[in-house]
Amino acid sequence: MNNRIEEIRKEKSIRQEELAKALGVSRQTISSLETGRYNPSIQLAHKIARYFGLSIEDVFLFEE
């Protein structure tokens, strides 16, 4: 599953540390999410989308 976390985060000039703190996860988790090495739970995906003010589908790109 691909995502646009890094792109959206940079657009909004948010640092990885800030995003991690807001979501209650480690900075390494944000880094792993951005590189696609780790797929988040539905709860974390929802929190990320809500933090950016977007829907899950806007942030995460599901592939068949």
Binding site: G24, V25, T29
Partner: protein, 132 residues
């Protein structure tokens, strides 16, 4: 981290001292003094960690994040899964090697370990299947 951590740390230290003392007065053998020392050190380290957790806000925040972090939990589960799988593989190979070397008791120990882990896996699987 709650008060339980403080209590457990003190229990470890007291138990460690008690074991060390009984071995020191030759009521038990040196194995127990070694275990007592290890328990005391673990208790002391946990206590120092608990003190730091209560006195250092940044450390508290970092610790809480690390504990609650879902990727950390995932990594921990993955590491346990790999460790269990590797243990079974190594014990299975050891069983064959011990058999070839005609080391019967070691062979039974290694094969018993394989069986035990597999039984534990199936029991865990049945419990987890009901839970999720």
């Amino acid at each position: 981290m709650k008060n339980r951590r403080w209590i457990l740390s003190v229990v470890y230290m007291v138990l460690g001292i008690a074991l060390f003392a009984t071995a020191f007065f030759e009521l038990l053998d040196s194995f127990w003094s070694g275990m007592g020392t290890a328990l005391f050190v673990i208790g002391l380290l946990r206590l120092l960690q608990a003190i730091r957790y209560h006195s250092n806000a940044q450390y508290r925040e970092d610790t809480d994040t690390a504990i609650g972090d879902e990727r950390n939990k995932f990594l921990s589960m993955k590491a346990w899964s790999w460790a269990g799988y590797l243990f079974v593989m190594i014990a299975a190979v050891a069983t064959i090697v011990f058999k070839l070397l005609d080391m019967e008791s070691e062979m039974f120990l290694a094969s018993g370990a394989v069986c035990l882990v597999i039984i534990l896996y199936w029991v865990s699987y049945l419990i987890v299947r009901k839970k999720y």
